[in-house]
């Protein structure tokens, strides 16, 4: 019965919720569109600090309304004023709550030591800017595939709407339902505005 519930709740194309971090207006707009057209939910922020605030990693509780949707992937620019993408990556990987979230670094500079440094720190991938649709599609497939692998491994299926940050610190794998929430099942077009989530904070 539990398995049947799980199967019926598993949408053929579960939507990822991606947190995109970039200090450039232009790049934020582009990455947002690339992700939306790839059927992802997107939240954009303009700095590493804002990203930590959004995730609730900065000590404050953050805006609880915005945190209802679990983040499945973080895509961040490398060169940003304040907290760099690398520093953001480190903070996320240091967090017991968020370390499982894949983090992808974007950079306009193809600097091998930089790439290695990020991959060593646990980055999922490193994208060279300008980011293309093919990059995003490939990324999404990668994340979805590892999500499905998690799905099969899990012994704790939870087909109902996921609650925020519902982690058991003793388990290292994220919940199987973390790649969609129940209300997105009806929605199959990225142009639907119902689930649009904006956390764009302008300077």
């Amino acid at each position: 019965m539990v398995v049947a519930d799980l199967l019926s709740s598993f949408s053929p194309s579960p939507e990822l919720h991606v947190l995109a971090v970039d200090d450039s207006f232009v790049d934020r707009k582009v990455i947002e569109r690339l992700l939306r057209i790839s059927a992802c939910k997107v939240t954009t922020v303009e700095s590493g600090t804002r990203a930590l605030q959004y995730l609730g990693l900065d000590g404050d509780t953050g805006s609880s309304g915005l945190k209802d949707l679990k983040v499945n992937l973080i895509v961040t620019d490398y060169s940003m004023p304040g907290l760099t993408g690398y520093e953001l990556l480190k903070k996320i990987k240091e967090s017991s709550v968020f370390r499982e979230i894949p983090v992808v670094i974007m950079s306009s500079e193809n600097i091998q030591p930089r790439i290695e440094q990020c991959m060593t720190e646990g980055a999922e991938d490193f994208l060279l800017k300008p980011v293309k649709l093919a990059d995003v599609k490939r990324l999404k497939e990668l994340i979805m595939r590892s999500g499905e692998a998690e799905e099969r491994k899990t012994t704790n299926p939870s087909p109902t709407r996921i609650l925020q940050n519902d982690f058991d610190s003793s388990s290292s794998s994220t919940s199987s339902s973390s790649f969609h929430d129940g209300s997105s099942l009806d929605e199959d077009t990225q142009s639907s505005k119902r689930m649009k989530l904006e956390f764009t904070v302008q300077d």
Partner: protein, 154 residues
């Protein structure tokens, strides 16, 4: 002018921008992201680019005009402009930024001034061309036509 002629004009005009190296394939990427649900995507991104660039070029001019040039301030601006021009496919602006940045690293003030002018020139050129392109598109749409995706074919 008839619709078919207008569309041909637009195609030819767009093609010339690629042939002159003013735009590169990243611009095509942006066009691919435009559809009925987001019909103004390209012009929205480009407008953001114009706003961003106007601001950056202004800041760069001010920074380079200082008695003592603070290259630590100049570099991030150039990096930013290089990034955003690359993101929209403004190839010549991007290339000029790369050269400009090299001279910044060398702290060669005279060359920096020269290359800032070069960057500005390329920027005004692409701005002018893109504004013309959008006008052509608007004319087509206003006449009830659709914008056909540009096929480079080269």
């Amino acid at each position: 002018m008839g619709l078919v002629k207008m569309q041909k004009s637009l195609q030819d005009y767009t093609k010339s921008l690629f042939l002159e190296g003013i735009l590169d394939s990243q611009f095509l990427q942006l066009q691919q992201l435009q559809d009925e649900s987001n019909p103004d995507f390209v012009s929205q991104v480009v407008t953001l680019f114009f706003q961003d660039s106007d601001r950056i070029l202004n800041d760069l001019s001010l920074s380079l005009d200082q008695q003592v040039v603070d290259f630590k301030k100049v570099d991030p601006h150039v990096h930013q402009l290089k990034g955003s021009s690359s993101s929209i496919g403004a190839q010549r602006v991007k290339n000029a930024c790369v050269v400009f940045r090299n001279f910044c690293e060398q702290q060669n003030i005279e060359a920096c001034h020269r290359w800032l002018q070069q960057v500005k020139q390329e920027y005004y050129l692409v701005k002018n061309r893109l504004e013309t392109l959008f006008k052509l598109e608007q004319q087509i749409v206003a006449s009830g036509g659709m914008i056909v995706a540009f096929e480079p074919g080269f």
